[in-house]
């Protein structure tokens, strides 16, 4: 514990030293100080990793002398979830933030240790500044190494049951990796602006980190959506919750930056826009952490709320003011080298795509903060609500999908009629064919979904055509067979074809979203055992109730599961058994009796899900536990009397409690009250997850180092060949 706390103090010292060394080295031109500043980041990574491992070890061995372990873990929490409980706490997640930030920063600074010599020292100082902020929080405001007050308890409070889901094991680290990785391009943008080195070098060098940030944040968002769909029991995957929105906003501006950076690299345009976008993305990444940690907005992520709002607000204000100042004072150096040649060009399509992405971000920002804004202006807190979000974002999403189809097809600089005819006929044909198919399948009642399907078809058709043409060109150049030509084409142009695959994946995701949100059947229904109901073409029979006590590996009672077996059939298909249940975890509230604490604590839904490419059948149960109230209260009274008399040893007490709860569970199963079920039949939800996998695959292809980058040290003889081919006079 002392070592952990000391590591954090050392981390803060390292940050302060590193900032000083980097800035002094940059100002004085003394490279050894710059190198020392860079090494301070490596040292920060090492020290924060040691602190993190100390905390992780305490969680794994259930060391309740750590106050944090007592309040966020227990001996009944499975080891798998004890390992992840570290970041369920505010203190642990701040430490994770610092550790990831320092690790990613170290990687970037090591990769660029011989490049970006004017920019890197300032970027190092910015990264250490951010690290220092989190170190200050961990040392002075939210130490993960506080000792438990009083005697060390034998048992902890336990991990919030909602977080006991496999995707929660990796969802937060993915989100935090995304947030911290976006700090890298932010820092290098600041460095480029301070050093006035404003060509595309910093964009090119930080691009892998920007793309990795985008990849991780996207993965975190999808995992969060999956968790929401299969764990929260409300039936959806996206609720426009403030914390969800907070992760989406930097992802949107990051997407915009990845596109507009290409224009700067190729044409020397959009420098102000790019700098502003990447700075905004950095600020939004911190805003995301702020929203989780401040608790200023009501959220399903309320388990993360705390009182660190003010320090975060100060940091966000500093980052925003500094960014605006730097862009404003460097405006003359940020002038574009070329002008837009035509509105019918790839540059214009990218620019439009950027505007739509930023507009989406602005809408989401406005909707997220509307409760606060309305409260400040009117004294009443009004919420934006999912219908309003949908109304404003759906048209923008449709335009975005269309633009993601146009981008890969349209010519740079100026598209001619011949170019448009040559590149657009096939994809438009595919889009029209998809439209006709969707109409034939009865999707005509929802024009917005219909348009989305057609545009998605256009995207897939366009990318398919690009692949075919690329393979043809490759075959002409290298005379390779088709499969080899395809592999060579993608291998030699990973960035381009990885990007195209991302577009296809996004189109598939949007098809899934459009179909599942437009054509879903949802119903809440109360059923007794033996009852039937029809929803969305399914016949659902409540076959029998189930009840069981679940013990942790150490023998202690972990939870009570009350559920239902349902027989589900659709059309002529054979009926299948689907199980759903609600798990009740004991509360540690001191005022609750030993029996009632199991029904007054947290509860989670285990969704009964039959997923398929065509549709998902989704069901949850909410058992009526009120019928058990009388027996629960009687049980509490028995234990209270026995405790007062001192008649029971701990072992006897546990055995008796097990018997009492077992009796309650048995009573529920034998004589079940009616239960309320939520039934949802959603078409094509699986397409969302499959599309996300395609997106991530595309991002991985784009990220994979090109053969040239792998073998960086090529000989000058090869280079001379390029010179000769260029036919430039000596």
């Amino acid at each position: 514990m002392v070592a952990g706390r000391a590591c954090l103090i050392v981390a803060l010292g390292i940050c302060l030293y590193g900032i000083g060394a980097s800035v002094y080295g940059a100002r004085s031109g003394r490279r050894e100080w710059v190198a020392s500043g860079r090494r301070a980041v490596y040292a920060l990574a090492g020290v924060s990793l040691v602190a993190f491992l100390i905390l992780q070890a305490a969680f794994l061995r259930s060391d309740f002398s750590f106050a944090l372990v007592t309040s966020h873990s227990s001996t009944t929490t499975p080891a798998f979830y004890r390992a992840t409980a570290v970041w369920s706490s505010q203190e642990g997640s701040l430490l994770l933030w610092l550790t990831l930030l320092s690790l990613w920063s170290s990687l970037m600074l090591f990769a660029t240790r011989r490049r970006l010599r004017e920019i890197a020292p300032y970027a190092t100082a910015v990264l250490l500044g951010l690290g220092g902020f989190f170190a200050i929080l961990l040392v002075f405001y939210a130490s993960p190494f506080e000792r438990t007050i009083g005697p060390v308890p034998a048992e902890g409070v336990g991990l919030n049951p909602l977080l006991r889901h496999p995707s929660m094991m990796i969802h937060p680290p993915m989100l935090y990796s995304g947030y911290t990785l976006f700090a890298v391009p932010f820092a290098f943008a600041v460095g480029a602006l301070v050093a006035r080195r404003l060509n595309a070098d910093w964009i090119r060098h930080t691009r892998p980190f920007t793309l990795t940030a985008w990849f991780f944040l996207g993965m975190g968002i999808v995992l969060g959506a999956r968790w929401s769909y299969s764990e929260l029991g409300w039936g959806g995957y996206w609720a426009w919750d403030p914390v969800e929105n907070a992760s989406l906003m930097p992802w949107l501006t990051g997407t915009a930056f990845l596109h507009s950076a290409m224009i700067q690299e190729k044409r020397g345009m959009l420098k102000v826009w790019n700098a502003s976008l990447v700075l905004a993305t950095g600020v939004l990444a911190i805003l995301g952490t702020f929203l989780v940690r401040s608790g200023i907005l009501e959220s399903i992520h309320a388990f993360g709320a705390s009182t660190l709002g003010v320090p975060f607000l100060v940091l966000i204000a500093l980052m925003t003011a500094g960014s605006v100042y730097l862009v404003a004072t460097r405006a003359p150096q940020l002038r574009a080298e070329h002008r837009l040649d035509s509105l019918l060009s790839r540059e214009a399509a990218f620019l439009l795509n950027n505007l739509v992405l930023v507009l989406l971000c602005v809408v989401i920002w406005w909707g997220t903060f509307f409760p606060l804004i309305s409260e400040a202006l009117t004294g009443h807190r009004h919420t934006f609500g999912p219908p309003m979000f949908d109304k404003l974002t759906v048209p923008l999403a449709i335009v975005l999908v269309l633009l993601s189809g146009i981008g890969p097809l349209i010519a740079w600089r100026r598209a001619t009629v011949a170019n448009l005819r040559r590149n657009f006929v096939v994809p438009v044909g595919v889009g029209v064919a998809v439209l006709a198919l969707a109409l034939a399948l009865g999707a005509g009642s929802r024009p917005d979904a219909l348009i989305m399907f057609a545009f998605a078809g256009f995207v897939v058709g366009g990318v398919g055509q690009e692949l075919v043409r690329g393979v043809r060109a490759r075959r002409v150049m290298a005379r390779e067979p088709v499969p080899l030509a395809l592999v060579s084409l993608v291998r030699r142009n990973r960035r381009r074809y990885g990007g195209y695959l991302v577009h296809v994946g996004m189109a598939v995701v949007f098809v899934g979203i459009a179909a599942s949100s437009s054509f879903a059947h949802e119903r809440d229904v109360q059923l007794s055992a033996g009852d039937s109901v029809r929803v969305g073409g399914y016949t659902i029979d409540y076959v029998r109730p189930t009840a069981k006590l679940v013990a942790a590996p150490n023998g202690r009672l972990e939870r009570i599961d009350l559920g239902a077996d349902m027989r589900v059939a659709r059309g002529g298909e054979a009926p299948r058994l689907v199980h759903t249940e609600r798990s009740y975890f004991p509360s540690v509230g001191p005022m609750l009796g030993p029996v009632s604490r199991f029904f007054e604590g947290e509860s989670t839904s285990e969704v009964g899900l039959r997923a398929g490419l065509e549709r998902d059948f989704w069901i949850t149960v909410a058992p009526d536990t009120q019928r058990l109230d009388a027996r629960v209260k009687e049980g509490d009274r028995v234990f209270t009397r026995a405790d007062k008399a001192g008649a029971l040893t701990d072992t006897e007490r546990n055995e008796l409690l097990g018997q009492a709860l077992s009796g309650l569970a048995g009573s529920y199963a034998k004589n079940p009250p009616a239960a309320t079920f939520r039934v949802l039949v959603s078409p094509m939800v699986t397409w969302i997850w499959l599309g996300a996998i395609v997106v991530l695959l595309g991002a991985l292809i784009a990220l994979w180092p090109s053969p040239r980058a792998v073998g960086r040290r090529v000989t000058a003889a090869y280079a001379a060949r390029v010179g000769r081919e260029a036919r430039v006079p000596a």
Binding site: E32, R39, R114, R204, R492, N493, R496, A717
Partner: protein, 97 residues
């Protein structure tokens, strides 16, 4: 045990962070940094040349635009190669023929 961990961490931090201040290999580092910078610029230029050719072959660049772009990109690439060859050679590198 805690104090041993603290001592080891502190000692390692001091050694790692102060190493460049104790090193004498500064000039060499400057040269290798410039080479790395130029090599990265050269690789990016090669990628741009390949990209432009693929854009032309898949109909996103007209032939006159592609030829003009290709010429200027190759000229820039040669400029980078010349600067690379002007650097003092290290073992294993071949000179510009």
């Amino acid at each position: 045990m805690d104090y041993v961990v603290i001592f080891v961490v502190l000692a390692l931090v001091v050694v790692v962070v102060s190493a460049p201040l104790r090193s004498r290999k500064r000039e060499e580092a400057a040269e290798s940094a410039e080479r790395a910078e130029l090599e990265a610029a050269r690789d990016a230029k090669y990628r741009e040349i390949r990209d432009a050719e693929l854009d032309f072959r898949t109909g996103k660049l007209s032939e006159p635009d592609w030829r003009a772009l290709d010429r200027s990109l190759r000229a820039e690439a040669v400029g980078i190669l010349r600067r690379l060859d002007d650097l003092p050679t290290s073992e294993g590198d071949a000179r510009f023929p």
